[in-house]
Point group: C2
Chain length 512, copies 2
């Protein structure tokens, strides 16, 4: 237990200061403070020593140097049970500082509201993080408070322990302080990397705010939590049971697809991180019905994501099925009313989520694989028609649709489509031929009358003719795939023999 | 362009100091330094002012406070083109410091070599990061060097520009400085979180060292890189073509499986992030042959990972196939010689990789999903035999094997096995029934004579009887699955009617 005699307060965010000062006053804690914080404390009619008077050193460089003084750091960093330290303080007329309350210039806020580089730079705090770090290092003797949301904890601690603090509390606050400084400098470093157009700096940090601890991770014996690189996730749950780890994972898989659709168009249904039905036909209600009809069995318990606002009419259709989550760019009031009758059904408003974030991370053992996301949209002029038979415009549009869905299906991926809707999706196979078989089987089972005008896309090249052969036998009239097999010529020959349209996309869309 | 007149040097790592000092001397740069760095500079016979003389303030608290002084920070932080700043320096007898060369107490090294908390705490640098951050903030006028590996860049810059530096260079160095401080505090924060047993702190940072930029990401139109949370990846390439993003991803998928095997036992073959064959039979050579025979077509171009040292005999077998990567706990010399005949074949020694890391991250839009890894190994006493027929010990061992492989197969996952080897793997399906069909089809195709004594595992519960029915029809004699379907009773009844062993694992192994 340590008694607090002297506090240093230096705040950028001066919220909730009054109740804090009252408790410090109650416990007869002397206060040192600088600049705006000093003025605010005086305004609130509490006693306070100005830091420049305390150190005998003036504030200079328009506030850039205020607290960086040995009298301050001697006071913070001295080990109370160390005789040398004690004598150093005595000899220099320095005094112990037992509590540091600090928060930093609002760098994060600044980068969110301005592009002015000089304003942003001016909002990099130097003194604040130094005080926080010094106090956190010396947590054995010193308490550090680095966020206004910790005031209640401090007040509580001082009240319970009559002006003293426990080691456990100080250690906890020290952890928080370092997580604040790490987070802060991660923001600054990432800002500079972006500014310098350096995608892969030598040392990289990724930062996040805890949004919520989840009931568990992917499975009940794993712990899980979700963080945001911002203050929140930009998706908003408006109804239903708490989201699970797998819900979040599936929601983002679905949003990756639905956010790639044309404006206000398209529905995707996701199950186990793979789409089981996708449609971007313009009629919104029908886009759901088409997506559903692709594989209604898999859709059971799935996640529907609509790239538009959900109407009551669609809500009625949606409620006919058992779904875990419905994601949409908003819900009409009467749609919510209707859907909310299902107590557990989670409704997610995704209209504020944008696709600005362009980098993905995935950890494995001690490694982190970092890459830019697969968001480039390839179109006609990227492709090469290699068969004698040329696609008509409908076929071409369906080929482009199927190929753009392919990128969201776990490799090896085969997507069969017509009418801007999927007919069969083959995913997650170690052999491309198997993915073809699965896609065909799904189509035959659920869309037996559609396959005559259908097209197929493959996320990577066919190594052999066999996959294409299967597709053509099933009635597929046009196929898009990258190129690159040593059997490409053979494949073109086969396409020509069977009067099939064959398009080389020249790019691939692996997703693992 | 800015001329450097005065440098502040404060180093924990004093390597390569001499050539740096020579260049500073050549350009008539005045040097200020503290403690050990000052002594080292004098020892190398260069001129240097001791920092306590410079500031007029003694070093106190056994070195805890040396540089934290307004004369230092006024000198670093003053804007050269600002009259108020100029006057502040003049009035206080402060002088501009144009170059800061600093590196930090070796916190990372310390946590790697000791568990002594007090030693670790003492190695949290306060002054160093503050100097670095202040100089980096003022990069418009000041150069900051924060790593010995940047000395050559500085020397080069000064030589080219005759003692001056460009804004571009200073900006680059500033980015590096903030990435050093962010990385450093991320280490400290994570150390404290671990120490406080706080798995999900409110603010979290993840840090990594760039191991290499990759030719591209998952696809050629994506950029990719691999980082390590340590200095290196602990896996070592000993032969072959440069590893790609997908190679790394597959290697780690394979290692997740092979590192879960009993010591010196077992082989897995991975393709597109899913295992296509696994065996843990004790004979090492046969474990490869068994894994291969499960699906030799998918194994083509795959990644083999052996949880033992590869012999020449096995190498001969391995070289009969086209493989992208072979991973092993070492290779015998004659095995390397043999395998290295294939120029492109990548050989990876994984013997130094351990599975200590227990947390995984995955990013989606602005979110990061964090969870503890699925490493808990469930055994007999976790399971419940619910059928009338009880498994014999061979069946039980195979059930445990199949269930433990399940966790590494993308959901929905069905693994059929006997003799501690997989016979058919169904992966990545939106419907569990489809995964059953795929696993059965693979078994019938590649292992037609084995299925009589085979067992099957499902990563999650069967919602209906249909999946189990398919498996039993295919000759499966024992099945393990979690429980939880409203049709569990029906499923048990079906197992009893067909004299099938049914075990409830009570836990599931989703992997997406």
């Amino acid at each position: 237990m340590k008694k607090i005699k002297r506090a240093l307060i230096s705040l950028s965010n001066k919220d909730n200061l009054k109740k804090l000062l009252s408790i410090l006053y109650k416990h007869k804690i002397e206060i040192i403070s600088s600049g705006g914080t000093f003025k605010q404390i005086k305004k609130l009619k509490f006693k306070c020593i100005e830091i420049s008077k305390y150190t005998g050193s003036p504030e200079i460089l328009e506030g850039r140097v205020k607290t960086l003084h040995p009298k301050i750091y001697g006071g913070i960093l001295s080990k109370r049970n160390n005789k040398i330290h004690k004598n150093d303080l005595l000899n220099n007329n320095f005094f112990e500082i037992d509590l540091v309350i600090v928060n930093f210039y609002p760098f994060e806020k600044t980068i969110n509201i301005t592009n002015s580089h000089s304003k942003i730079i001016e909002n990099i705090d130097i003194g604040g993080p130094t005080m926080a770090r010094a106090a956190a290092k010396n947590y054995n003797d010193v308490v550090v408070i680095t966020n206004t949301n910790q005031y209640d904890n401090l007040i509580n601690e001082l009240n319970i322990n009559k002006g003293k603090t426990t080691l456990k509390f100080r250690k906890k606050m020290s952890e928080k302080a370092f997580s604040e400084t790490a987070y802060y400098d991660s923001l600054v470093a990432n800002y500079f990397s972006k500014f310098n157009k350096n995608q892969f700096p030598q040392k990289k940090t990724i930062h996040g705010n805890l949004i919520e601890k989840l009931r568990y991770g992917e499975n009940p014996h794993q712990n899980g939590a979700i963080y945001s690189s911002k203050k929140n996730l930009d998706i908003k749950q408006i109804h239903g049971k708490k989201l699970s780890y797998n819900n979040y994972n599936d929601i983002y898989s679905a949003l990756n697809i639905s956010k790639s659709f044309p404006k206000n168009v398209g529905t995707v249904i996701v199950k186990h991180n793979n789409p089981c039905g996708v449609s971007i036909i313009k009629n919104q209600l029908n886009s759901y019905l088409e997506a559903l009809s692709c594989d209604p069995i898999s859709a059971y318990g799935g996640i529907v994501s609509c790239n538009f606002k959900i109407s009551k009419k669609l809500a009625m259709e949606l409620s006919k099925n058992f779904l875990e989550v419905i994601v949409a760019n908003g819900f009409k009031k009467d749609a919510i009313k209707l859907l909310a009758k299902k107590k557990n059904l989670r409704l997610i408003d995704s209209q504020n989520l944008n696709i600005k974030n362009t980098t993905s991370y995935i950890s494995n053992f001690n490694s982190i694989l970092v890459q830019s996301l697969d968001r480039t949209k390839f179109k006609k002029n990227n492709f090469k028609i290699v068969s004698k038979r040329k696609p008509n415009s409908e076929q071409l549009n369906n080929l482009i649709f199927a190929f753009n869905i392919c990128r969201h299906v776990k490799s090896n991926a085969i997507v069969i489509a017509n009418n801007q809707s999927t007919l069969g999706i083959g995913s997650g196979q170690t052999s491309r031929l198997d993915s073809c078989k699965i896609a065909i089987e799904k189509m035959k089972k659920f869309k037996p009358n559609h396959f005559e005008n259908s097209v197929a896309a493959s996320d990577a090249f066919f190594p052999f003719v066999d996959g294409i052969e299967k597709l053509v036998q099933a009635g597929i009239s046009a196929i898009i795939q990258p190129y690159g097999s040593i059997r490409d010529k053979e494949i073109i020959k086969f396409a020509n023999q069977t009067n099939t349209v064959l398009v080389f996309s020249k790019t691939r869309h692996f997703k693992h």
